[in-house]
Symmetry: C2
Subunit: 179 residues, 2 copies
């Protein structure tokens, strides 16, 4: 499948404002609750997205451009946000996500990547050889997988409140494959 | 589970702006494509949400308050948007969704519903007896089920582009239970 970098940037640039419009000022019943032990709340998800901006996407893109397949990416800590978000409010996290995403998109555009750059290869510590194109497409798809998770976590809080309608609401049947 | 009407209104009032921030001006690759024959695109989903505002939630709430269990709700046409969205742009649909949702929330607040009102019962043509509380909670959860669907439909467009990362992206494993 062809991957158009402008399409990816279009999505990446919109996610922070979309989450902000949904979550800012929303009552805790929606934003602080999770799906049970070891699962994430909306607050945790935004923290995870911030951690990705800091340690995953752009650092990995630079690793590919600088070292190719010779140096694998650093592993990504899926629980780092528990530490990093401590003591912060959701409002602070939403501001921070918007800021770091914006900074990263400025840095991405500054690379002025050409089609041949997108074919450059790096090494994922578990998945093996991947391309820069795949990494950048995954950055956008990763936003979507957490939007998918977020809608499920929030819907879970109304599992009882909707009564018999739960049968018609697909999100209530989602098995949690996007945690 | 207790249902707090203010929590429901808090979510309902934010969905249009969140979808607007995500979808307005986004390239067609994200907004016009679906998951295959008989499935919905982002454009179709926004059209469906508009149709719900017009024919489902508030008309059913009024039916409960006026007729209780004696007159079942009208059936909801899940494909009406194909007709009603014809010739419109996504921008127009986003504007329309924001407007009809806002009008409905003004009408909902004007009902000045008290806890005892929320326990009033109506009749769903397939599900049988339901309460006003369940109907209004479902209105909010219905937004979330379509946010869940939307993220899945959009992620589907990058199924090939992400390469081996598809394995780590839960949204790519979602079986389409929220169409």
């Amino acid at each position: 499948m062809d991957h158009n970098l402008q399409d990816t940037i279009s999505l990446l640039s919109r996610t922070p404002a979309s989450l902000d419009a949904l979550l800012r000022g929303l009552p805790d019943v929606w934003t602080a609750r999770n799906e049970g032990d070891g699962t994430w709340s909306a607050f945790d998800i935004v923290g995870h997205l911030i951690h990705g901006e800091r340690t995953d996407w752009m650092p990995r893109a630079k690793r590919i451009l600088e070292s190719g397949e010779t140096r694998p990416f650093e592993k990504f800590d899926r629980w780092a946000q528990a530490r990093e978000s401590e003591g912060k409010s959701l409002t602070q996290l939403l501001d921070e996500f918007a800021r770091v995403r914006s900074e990263n998109l400025i840095a991405l555009r500054a690379l002025n990547l050409q089609p041949k750059d997108l074919e450059r290869r790096g090494r994922h510590p578990a998945l093996g050889v991947v391309t820069l194109s795949q990494l950048l497409a995954t950055w956008a798809a990763h936003d979507l997988t957490h939007l998918h998770q977020l809608s499920r976590v929030m819907a879970h809080q109304y599992r009882g409140a909707v009564g018999p309608w739960t049968e018609y609401l697909g999100v209530m049947k989602c098995a949690g494959h996007s945690s």
